[in-house]
Amino acid sequence: MLYLDANATEPVRPEARAAALAAMETLGNPSSTHAAGRAARKLLEEARDAVARACHARPADIVFTAGATEANALALHALGEGRTILTGATEHDSIRAAAPHAVPVPVRTDGTLDLDALAALLEMHPDPLVCLMAANNETGVLNDIEAAGRLCTAHGALLHVDAVQAVGRCNQNWLALGATSFALSGHKFGGTMGAGALITRPGQELRPLMRGGGQELGRRGGTPPLPAIAALAAALGAGYDGAKIAKYRDEMEAACVAAGGVVMGAGAPRLPNTLCVALPGRRADAQLIALDMAGIAVSAGAACSSGKVTASHVLAAMGAGELAGQAIRVSLPWNVAPDAMPEFSTAYAAMAKRGLRAGAASA
């Protein structure tokens, strides 16, 4: 199988696997006072230190969570209290579902945030919480967090950045760019599923979603998932050859375009690994099935837990019209092999050609 669905989950990094296994060999709960507890706590705090270094934050300002959905929910819950919430129109469901009454900030047709619209909304709504994704999960389009951060700072707004797809692929000093907080998820950069983090500017207080036993300095109750946290920290330290991956992606993109594909967000700065491409007139789910049968794993739109593929709200917000239901997402993993390009391109071209024949037959 050729795995090109890294934005769903990246393959686990060898460093992360080793760290998780080592953590599993470590007896003890980090909250316990005995020697075993101290050993576990040491692992936890070393992981926190490593994350802090990689993310330009203080260890004390890192709250480990079960993943990014929880980290985003915690940010909205703690920072959004009593504030109007402004969210980008192409945010992930973990933001949309946690802030159902948010004021949407429109995006341009290339998928980037409309900063003029953000400025106008900041004039209208005093002291809001603004939630923006650093990189879109479906298109890979990068938002100009620096510019958004400047606007938010100038208007006294808080800014939460959903950095899930960006961390590990195009790291930035999010706090220095003006973020009040940002969220990340271990398995999106080669850790294991089960751990994420909310990282805040120094001293930011957070009212917990779950009080529990007061772990994470009272900001997140519950025993921390030590193996997943160790894996997260180890994966953050692993290298990422963005230039090489972008080169493969660009080659696949050229092959898709040659076969009749339309690239979404083509003009915008994008993640190096992500390609969102529509095949006009072909349902996205039919494309997924055809490629899966050819042994290639890609995805499309917002997949419900049922596996049903619906038209993408991201592409709809970009004004893609019909193409919103006809686009697939190809996302290259960190360990993509050179022969992935020809294999994918051949399968894609064959699929596109079959569609032409079927279209001609029914016309």
Binding site: D285, A286, M293, C304, S306, R354
Partner: protein, 346 residues
């Protein structure tokens, strides 16, 4: 052979997938998501998919076959639910399962199966398919109580060529359940599905009210001479030949006619049978010609001997003995166990 199996999550189509896999075919399970389950049961926050899709995925995993869920909500709403409401508003008694088979299962899904390069599509319907001198023939199931041929009359000859119905030869549902248990499928003991899947509560009035509220507006119940006998709460609640829900003044009478324009229900003495029945949308599973056949006028019906005369896209039935024919229902012609064709009663 590469076979697409239409999997509903029920025991029948699960066993079909298992049988096809056991025969060594490359099996691709596909489940059509027809409606938002959460909305249908009126439970906010319930998953759009519901238990059936979950069950279909589990069966596919157990069998080790690929499985996909296709979003057919928009198509189902338009071709089945909305057409169902329209039919009632038009004073008819629709059969939504036929529309669903025609447009979704043997229409869109079959097209998708062809697109995917499949050699055949198999379903869990209880009918049999034989190769005959004219090509594929459709026959009633061995188990008469399970026979679904009446619901499948609109399957075209080209569609029939492509389809397989492995359950038609089974003597009983118990046998099918036994195979499911033997294959270790969790759905072996699952209850049979309901009559109309998108009306979980069994009251279709809510659907009609949403799409065609005028069909639930009150009107008059009148005798054939025009005398008003009472009131009714919507023509959609009536079908030809019905004796229930009539005012006291119409006791012992039955519905003879439904007039959507004036919203009047016309009643008369029992005996609304006719000898001549006109059909539209006739599908022939043999070469169209005048022929004698046994005709089923509703899902559970005996065969009425008749002469069938093609007429353009439709046909006229001349029944040997008068019978009750409700507009909107199907009339299906049989030669013994073989389905020769059928159409919708006008």
């Amino acid at each position: 052979m590469k076979v697409v199996v239409a999997m509903s999550g029920g025991v029948d189509s699960s066993v079909v997938a298992g049988l096809m896999a056991r025969e060594g075919h490359e099996v691709i399970g596909v489940t059509l998501q027809l409606y938002d389950h959460g909305a249908a049961v009126g439970r906010k926050g319930a998953c759009c998919a519901g238990q059936d899709i979950h069950d279909a995925k589990r069966v596919a995993d157990r069998l080790g076959i690929a499985h996909y869920v296709i979003d057919s909500e928009a198509r189902f709403r338009q071709s089945v639910i909305s057409a169902f409401a329209d039919s009632y508003a038009d004073g008819q008694t629709p059969v939504p399962c036929i529309a669903c088979n025609q447009h979704l299962k043997f229409g869109d899904l079959l097209e998708m199966a062809r697109d995917l390069g499949a050699d055949a599509m198999a379903t869990g319907h209880y009918v049999r398919r034989f190769e005959g001198p004219e090509g594929a023939e459709m026959h009633k199931a061995v188990d008469d109580s399970r026979d679904q041929s009446w619901f499948l009359f609109a399957t075209t000859r080209a569609q029939l060529e492509f389809c397989r119905f492995p359950l038609g030869g089974f003597a009983s549902k118990a046998e099918v359940r036994a195979i499911a248990a033997e294959m270790g499928l969790a759905v072996a003991e699952k209850a049979d599905s309901q009559d109309i899947c998108f009306v979980p509560s069994g009251t279709y009035a809510g659907i009609v009210e949403k799409y065609r509220p005028e069909a639930l507006a009150p009107g008059e119940v009148v005798a054939e001479d025009g005398r008003v006998l009472g009131a009714h709460q919507g023509i959609a609640r009536y079908t030809i030949g019905q004796a229930k829900r009539l005012p006291d003044a119409a006791a012992h009478m039955v519905v003879k006619r439904i007039e959507p324009g004036t919203r009047r229900i016309v009643v008369g003495p029992r005996g609304v049978q006719s000898r001549e029945v006109r059909l539209r949308g006739v599908n022939w599973l043999t070469d169209p010609r005048e022929l004698r056949a046994g005709v089923k006028l509703r899902a559970r019906d005996t065969l009425h001997p008749a002469r069938v005369v093609p007429e353009g896209e439709g046909a006229v039935l001349y029944l040997d003995e008068p019978a009750l024919a409700a507009p909107g229902q199907a009339a299906v012609f049989y030669d013994g166990t073989r389905v020769l064709g059928g159409g919708f009663i006008v």
